[in-house]
Amino acid sequence: MAEEKKIFKITIDNITIDVEPGTTVLQAARKIGGDVTPPAMCYYTHLKGSGGKCRTCLVEVAAGSAADPRPMPKLVASCRTNVMDGMVIKSLTSEKVLDARNAVVEFLLINHPLDCPICDQAGECDLQDLSYEHGTEATRYEFKRRTFDKEDIGPYIQLHMTRCILCYRCTYVADQLTDTRVHGVLDRGDHSEISTYISKAIDNDFSGNMIDVCPVGALTDRTFRFKNRVWFTKPMDAHRNCDKCCGKVTLWLRGDDVLRVTARKDQWGEVQTYDGKPGWICNACRFHKKHKYDWEVEGLTNITRHSVISQGKYPGLKMPKETIAEVMGGKSPNLLMDIHEISGVNDPDIDLSKIEGPATSNTFNPDP
């Protein structure tokens, strides 16, 4: 008997969408996209069992399903709640949800060192984005934050536990991508820590992916540490033939130097899938192929224009057409000084979108 394929209808913030049974609320919201999508710090599509921990993706269930339209008493974690037919979800439209999200951001930040100025993750950090969008401007926490010593786990990865938000993603990588699990979580409560049990080095081919899944700067690439700010680099998609992994990566370039290699990420910050398989990359591609000639470069990585990283790549940039006077309704701006007179940076003759990388002093003053 051929069973008819069921389709569930779900309404999120008054937008209705059809999804397949078994989809989570978060995945449905991602299908809609935009602001209704709850942020997710611990959920990772390609890691089984992840999610439900950070509580940033809490949503309100206004109606459980068409068959049982009662609302749920508590907010639920959208990443681990499956869609029911006729479910009605409130995300941005619920005061309760916004309040809870704000609370979670505050909780995540009270023990976070906020050392963004010296953190390699700054500029591509999920926690930065989250606190920018849902946090408050000041903290109410007046106590000493918890700290840990930095720990090298293997030759390529450094663990900076102080920054960790305990999303458990890296332990799932260790469980599911590498052959033997060598790290996990020790202790409990606010003093629990990610550890490789008595500092046993992680040494297997896919361990580097835990850097990619880390939403904050707790796990960083030792070959890239302090080399550069991420927004000064130019991301380019590239590939090579690799017998261990898909070989499809993003190169982070400064000039012609490959500073860092990562897996390619989709718009939700997760690795891209190729033919239904997640595109994890192996350690050889990530840590040892640091020359442009190792790779066949495909072109610039598409990065959302909201990201600070996009300022390092100009092609495709749309120059604003309006003059300042038009924007300000006919009034001229109140300038302390006219920088056009003292700097060539705003030279209207130079079209930044015509140059490939970040502008340097040479761009404005080629023959000193």
Binding site: G51, G52, K53, C54, R55, T56, L58, K74, L75, A77, R80, D99, A100, A103, V104, E106, F107, L108, I110, N111, R140, Y141, F143, R146, I165, L166, Y168, G184, V185, D187, R188, G189, D190, H191, S192
Partner: protein, 450 residues
């Protein structure tokens, strides 16, 4: 004198061992169930009895058993939660230590009802001397044909295994318990799926408290209807209460759920009044997680009725003016006790025991502890009290498991009912280190709002 169903024979010499236990009517329920009843009939008797889970939440046991998924070819498990770690609760320890066969008997009967051929007792790691007692009881039961293959010729097989925890409060939460039993880190699972569908090793599982399982014995012996006649309303049967704190006679009491809180505290049959002729200030009626109540709200409800020792009456008025039966840890505080210090102690406990899996509980419990320590040490600010309220509000309901709620409720209730004591600590930073706030007006008669 109330009727006793569980602790009736507790005074009999040698009741810990099989011979004396059997002589005093032990293992009758196993014989009755396995020889004359079907598993469904046993479940029906439990449903009829109205027995509610004794672990804290008070969920009807029969209904819980009814939810159990029964797919063919998949084993089902009964797991007994003996990880009794709630501060103030020590009823299960008493039961297991002095009358272990009652639990074993209850497990066999319940396993028969559920269809579990392998049942587990997950016992708190600190109860280091009790697992031996249970093991011995299991061996004795086995030697006498009540465990093992083909029990009493009924064709029903059952084995019981005792597993000791490693000292984590969180493993008393049923899904964390299952994780720990599987040999993993004791982090609570995200529900759904509930254990009744996917529990131990992904098989349908019932997790019940020790006292709940023990109560199945009298229910099967005397019938569910007879059990349901005891008590008031939906609070049927007898309940073990472990009373402690500033009372004359601390200990474990079995009481029919039809006496008043006042009688329980002051009658000589039970707690015997407040120790040293002091006056009652406050009480936590159901173990450290439930809201604390000042004396006036404890003895009478906001409606002016007498508060009874039942699930409904203790919860009367919601959290605004009521509390919960919880796990039956009855902590009494006299006029010399400091509510701020007490709340700090509890906050410290919950911070230490938070598993660290989800952020509100992991970070919030530590934050609350630090603020409470400051207030207790006379370093608090007025704004800290409001901040505490805000933090607990943001933890409650936003966590994976009830530990977040359990950490938030005591703080919320302390501020709700004892705010003046907190403010006194802030305003008198020197004085609060030397003396206590005292009874204040917490025992004054309530203004009855009609």
């Amino acid at each position: 004198m109330g009727r006793k169903l569980l602790l009736d024979n507790i005074g009999v010499e040698g009741i810990r061992y099989y011979d004396a236990y059997r002589k005093h009517g032990g293992y009758r329920s196993v014989e009755k169930a396995l020889k004359t009843m079907t598993p469904e009939q046993v479940t029906d008797e439990v449903k009829k009895s109205g027995l509610r889970g004794r672990g804290g939440a008070g969920f009807p046991t029969g209904m819980k058993w009814g939810f159990l998924a029964k797919p063919a070819g998949v084993p089902r498990y009964l797991v007994v939660n003996a990880d009794e770690s709630e501060p103030g609760t020590f009823k299960d320890r008493y039961l297991m230590e002095f009358i272990p066969h009652l639990l074993i008997e209850g497990i066999i009967t319940s396993s028969y009802a559920i269809g579990s051929n392998r049942s587990y007792i997950y016992i708190r790691g600190e109860f280091a001397w009790i697992d031996g007692i249970l093991e011995q009881a299991i061996t004795e039961a086995k030697n006498n044909g009540f465990l093992g293959k083909n029990i009493l010729g009924s064709g029903f097989d059952c084995e019981i295994y005792v597993q000791r925890g490693a000292g984590a409060y969180i493993c008393g939460e049923e899904t964390a318990l299952l994780e720990s039993l599987e040999g993993k880190r004791g982090n609570p699972r995200i529900k759904p799926p509930f254990p009744a569908v996917k529990g131990l090793w992904d098989c349908p599982t019932v997790v019940n408290n020790v006292e709940t399982i023990a109560a199945v014995v009298p229910i099967v012996n005397d019938g569910g209807d007879a059990y349901a006649k005891i008590g008031i309303g939906k609070s049927t049967g007898t309940k073990l209460i472990s009373a402690c704190g500033n009372i004359n006679k601390p200990g474990v009491y079995e009481l029919e759920m039809n006496i008043s809180v006042e009688e329980f505290i002051y009658s000589d049959e039970y707690c015997g009044g407040i120790a040293n002729k002091k006056r009652l200030k406050a009480c936590i009626p159901g173990g450290s997680s439930v809201p604390i109540l000042p004396a006036n709200l404890l003895l009478t409800t906001a409606k002016g009725e007498k508060r009874m020792m039942t699930y409904e009456s203790l919860a009367d008025g919601g959290f605004a003016t009521g509390s919960m039966m919880g796990s039956g840890g009855f902590i009494v505080m006299d006029e010399d006790q400091c509510v701020v210090k007490h709340t700090y102690t509890l906050a410290r406990f919950y911070r230490h025991e938070s598993c660290g899996q989800c952020s509100p509980c992991r970070e919030g419990t530590g934050w609350m502890e630090k603020i409470l320590l400051n207030i207790d040490n006379g370093k608090g600010k007025m704004s800290d009290i409001d901040l505490l309220w805000d933090i607990q509000r943001k933890i409650e309901g936003n966590t994976i498991c009830p530990l977040g709620d359990a950490a938030a409720w005591p703080v919320a209730a302390a501020i709700r009912h004892f705010r003046d004591e907190f403010e006194w600590h802030v305003l008198n930073p020197e004085e609060c280190l030397k003396k206590n706030y005292g009874l204040a007006n917490y025992a004054k008669p309530l203004e009855i709002v009609a």
